[in-house]
Symmetry: C2
Subunit: 362 residues, 2 copies
């Protein structure tokens, strides 16, 4: 069967299906509701926090074709808040309901080696990398790329999970084993100045709109803080947005996507990875822009015109992680607080965020 | 049984019960979710648009004590998006779960005569009025107040429903009959310059915060447009906010309340009515303020500190009424569009709104 496509903007009151049930899905559902749409969230997690706010939800494994069919039949269009949905799930779904972004975009983004090959194929700079299938490959990678290297599983990594560093060829096989010897990619460790990201959207009509790129700071591999404006020069912003646009166009992308960048000491921009979805480093757009990244994604997926991405203020977004949420009351008199309604405050779990605005300086 | 009270700020993930299931409840539920709360919406309307976004919903008559008990047991606190809940429903509910605003505030606001007596009792100016129980009262009211008068049912009026004008004593009995001869209030018709409203909140600790009052324009008795800033002078704004604060304090009010004002040609402020809830004329706070009226109401009800009400931009909010929603696509490229997800676009029904921002001039 061929993929379904959306031929007209979604009608009033149509239903948007969302695969994945975390905070990104929760905020996406809220944005959909504000535009009068209904939502149906599908997740394999029993108490997914997006279930609470959706019109309907399905708790089923991603490979449950019967459940996917029922889900597809209830939706006018389907999208993702989570890229690690199995390839064949997305492909199967797309034969039953229009899906955006496309299964192909998802397939490229969810495999780090495919992703890097795709980006390099567009002539866009990344950290030097090679594919790693076994311990011998890992050892050779250190020699080929130069130490140290970062080994990353090709699939299912997030927040630093599925990563290991090897400082010498001798270390590499053990590092590969800590990844349970699954197919991996080795990347040369980049001494970057800082990280930045571009959050942008591409509409069904090929229109494109980017937000001002934030600087991102991580702690323990988890995003701690995103700040706009970043220290990027106007020329670097233009480059970063241009890179993102080329990626979006090459994928015939529909929806919001994020491109994570390393900014090298010499000012060069290297693409680290792409996320085919709304992104944690774009949460500040809720308060600081006329159109949030969540509304923008809904607009793109629904075949609506994209909204205004102009930044009205400066902003700093900080994540509230794990047991930090226990101190929520201390932040309760501040505007811009978002809590995700998750029950258990497990270590490293994103429980909420706060966006602090200041007048625009530049 | 005595009324329950909330003794500490609501814990993370607590459930807020909302009586009434319209767009005000829908936007209130969304604000509650953004702060990590759960919501349970109770309405006597089968396809209430707030049901779609709530964690749980109950469709039952307001006088169904068994359903109210189950509802109360599921909530940590309950509130209203709709003041025309029967008195005894609110009182019954308050013996089972802390309720804010109080049943007394609701009782005062839902009876136009009680309301006017209460306001006049505070020494606050209103249009001259008298109670009307029968056709003879209506006739006398024209003589006593001076023609023309507006007859309004004491209860259940909104958007001009339950109102009739009498231009002479002779007209008055017929006008009273169009109201089905229910208990009413006669008010002298005021030739006002324009209408304004104060949206403010009072916290459980007695803290008070008001938004900048909008000017409100009606068409066919339905709010068409709210504009901030209004033409009110700084002294008038101070007066209007002071009036609102006195009303809130006299009611020991908790939550957001709205006070509708007539601004007379000589600049005098006359209270038209109070709404013990979030208000259509406060929707612009979603985009133009750090804390929306919906978040503010949730904060007050939850025992949280009130948020910042400063206005960051100028704003014009326009309602999308009845079949106007069919033209939604023409507005789809504008930010600030809100659709309520209502199925049927009946004449006079509020289907959505749009808030347009411009830089702050003053």
């Amino acid at each position: 069967m061929s993929e379904r496509t959306l031929t007209a903007p979604l009608a009033r009151g149509a239903t948007i299906g969302i695969l994945g049930g975390g905070q990104l899905g929760r905020m996406m559902a809220e944005a959909a509701h504000a535009l009068g749409f209904k939502t149906h969230v599908y997740s394999d997690v029993a108490d997914a926090c997006a279930f609470d706010v959706a019109d309907a939800h399905t708790h089923a494994p991603f490979r449950d074709e019967a459940a996917l069919k029922v889900f597809a039949a209830s939706c006018d269009v389907a999208t993702f808040e989570f890229e690690n949905v199995p390839d064949d799930t997305a492909a199967f779904l797309a034969t039953h309901v229009p899906v955006a972004p496309s299964p192909r975009a998802l397939a490229v983004a969810q495999d780090r080696l495919t992703e890097k090959n795709f980006i390099a194929g567009l002539g866009i700079a990344t950290a030097p990398y090679v594919g790693v299938s076994n311990a011998a490959d890992a050892e050779e990678a250190v020699t080929a790329l130069g130490a140290p290297i970062v080994l990353k599983t090709r699939r299912m990594g997030y927040d630093g999970k599925g990563q290991a560093v090897a400082k010498t060829p001798f270390d590499a096989p053990a590092a590969f084993e800590t990844l349970h010897s699954v197919p991996a990619i080795a990347e040369k460790f980049i001494e970057f100045e800082y990280e930045a990201s571009v959050i942008a959207a591409r509409g069904r009509d090929g229109s494109f709109a980017a937000y001002d790129p934030p600087k991102n700071e991580h702690e323990n591999h988890i995003l701690r803080r995103s700040t706009v404006p970043s220290p990027l020069s106007a020329a670097q912003v233009k480059d970063a947005v241009g890179i993102t646009r080329r990626i979006a166009e090459a994928l015939d992308y529909v929806g919001v996507l994020a491109v994570e960048l390393f900014v090298a000491k010499d000012g060069a921009l290297l693409v680290n990875e792409i996320a085919p979805r709304v992104h944690n480093s774009g949460h500040w757009t809720i308060e600081a822009c006329a159109t949030s990244q969540f509304e923008q994604h809904v607009r793109a997926v629904a075949g609506w015109p994209l909204g205004d991405t102009a930044r009205r203020t400066d902003a700093v977004m900080e994540n509230i992680i794990g047991s930090e949420v226990d101190a929520w009351l201390a932040k309760a008199d501040e505007p811009g607080l978002h809590l995700y309604g998750k029950r258990e405050a497990r270590p490293g779990r994103k429980m909420g965020h706060i966006t602090r605005l200041t007048p625009r300086r530049s």
